[in-house]
Amino acid sequence: MKEVVDQGIKTQEIEVNFGPHHPSTHGVFRMVLTLDGENVRKVNPHVGYLHRGIEKLAEKRTYAQCVPFTDRLDYICSMTNNLAYVQTVEQLLDLEVPTRAEYIRVIVSELQRIINHCVFWATFGNDLGSQTALMYGFRDREMILDVFEELTGSRMTYSYMRIGGVAKDISDEQLKEIERIVDYMLDEALPEYHNLITGNEIFQARTKDIGILKPETAIDYGVTGPNLRASGVEYDVRKDQSYGIYDKFDFDVPTRDKGDTYSRYIVRLEEIEQSCLIIKQALNMIPEGKVQVKRVPKRPPDGSTYSSIESPKGELGFYLVSDGSKRPYRFRVRPPTFIHLMALEEMMIGEKVADAIVILGSIDIVLGEVDR
């Protein structure tokens, strides 16, 4: 939190309402800012405009029927949401997933991470007033969406992960196309991103030393994902509580020390690079075989379990309680962006109103996940 300097001038504070209908609140988020001139004095976030009661609704569905609900949490990256959920159910059932399915899961969830960070880059540029970035980011996302559409039949709500595997096998042509996209991202798109935005003098002046989140504050709030790594804490669920087959891949966890908006930005771009490398390794190692276990038990035994994955936005966890019936007794989501929003005040106080928008953009929220 920045120190608010009292300049001895009597000024009147005004309250400005950002959202729920506002060009840069990324959905239906609302925050009430108390401004002294251009400086932010108070932040009051309001959430709940997109509440659909998913957690309650899930209690009336069977385990398999809950997968489509997870699509609608973080609608930018449905794949990883699916994965987090089915992985928890598999843990509850103590189910082994075929190796090929595991590889496909890694490939699609890393592609999903690229999509998410492209969208982040695009909207972050837009928040800073560079509309061209928006177009470029969405252009590259579109290619991956085409692959996903061919694979799953849907552009955004995939429901591709199934309990005990994936819905459909991936073809060799699709794998080739994915390889082409990965090469394109590494050789053309990323240098272009850096040329257009990262190196820009105005961009650096706008983002450096803005919205600093100290590592200890970040840990206190439970911040995870790129936002935590930008503050200098090297915590990645893929490495630290390795799930699936992530221990087979060789990749780095990009971190920065400063915790400002620029670090959060650059960490994400470097993650695109790492995701591309993981996909390349997975494409070389992927074995032939089945993608779905033959029989999935409908009723898990009594008990509860929690498991989490590294979603593009942070640690996405599911907590499931089973009472032995075919429906979950309790279906609880640990959404990363809801937790990130709580740390918003720490970052915003004392900054300029224009920076408030940049900070909100830099923590990369999706309201479908915040409100559920």
Binding site: I14, E15, V16, N17, F18, H22, P23, S24, L35, E38, G125, N126, D127, L128, G129, S130, Q131, T132, A133, M135, Y136, R139, L196, I197, N200, I202, F203, A205, R206, K352, V353, A354, D355, A356, I357
Partner: protein, 343 residues
Amino acid sequence: MGALQNLFVNLALFFRESMVNIGFSQLGIEATMDLVAGIGVLAVIAISALVLIYVERKVAGFIQVRLGPNRVGPKGTCQTVADALKLVGKEDIIPDRVDKVPFMIAPILFFAPAVLAFAIIPFGENMIPIDMNIGIFYFIAVCSLSTIPIIMAGWSSNNKYSLLGAMRSLAQSLSYEIPLVFSILGVVMITGSLQMSDIVAAQSDMWFIVTQPIAFLIYLIAGAAETNRPPFDLPEGESELVAGYMTEYSGMRWALFFLAEYAHLFIVSAMATTLFLGGWHGPILPSYIWFLLKTGFMIFILIWVRWTFPRIRIDQLLSLGWKFLLPLSLLNILITGVVLYII
């Protein structure tokens, strides 16, 4: 070629002679000629705005790897007309608790200085609507006027975004008007005249961009800030202030703000051409074509900047104006003065 060279001048002469033949009084002829010039200026504004909006959208489309308007008319050329018609047909919404009179006249007052500034632009050889001996001074005075309607719009809208936008606009104009004026001063010192025709005539051998490169850069930056275009579009700052002082406006009133912005874009580019790029001077082609080509080039640069740069922050904008551009422009004046003294 000869006929084309002085097409508009000959037209004006023909007009004047025919009025003499009909038997108008001297005063009547002058008044009518001024009226014709005025209509000419309005036509230029209307046409340039229509063309500019289309060109900007097409160039933006090219930069952003998309198509731009391509549905209405051949290659989408009628898109601007369709948009304008839509705006004319819209309901004139005046929100409930606005201060009605300033709210209603602000767009008109914002548009008026843009029209006035066209009066002193030398479109070609002998093609200045009014060749005032204080041309530069008039240009600066008229351009500064546009701040007041913005404040009127922001204040009367009874909206916090509008008010913040208007305040930003005021701070921005204050800090950019001065470097703008000082950058032009270098040119005035060399020519020793405030008259536009003299300034253009002085550039027949060498453009002032060669002798005054720093002034040109300062003019370009300050001019972009004057037009409220990105990266200096803080008064509108979409990502935080929705639309700034224009938030509550819709329909034709909003369109007036929009049109005036394009008129300002044209003026700033035309003045850059006149002051630094040799005005209408150029070989072979008629003078007005040269003027339009150079102005078009300047406009293209401003469009290019708009679609590649992120937006600057208000305090950075002010410190750029006061701590960098202003001393630099003073230095430029000093160097110009010393060199002139030595020569």
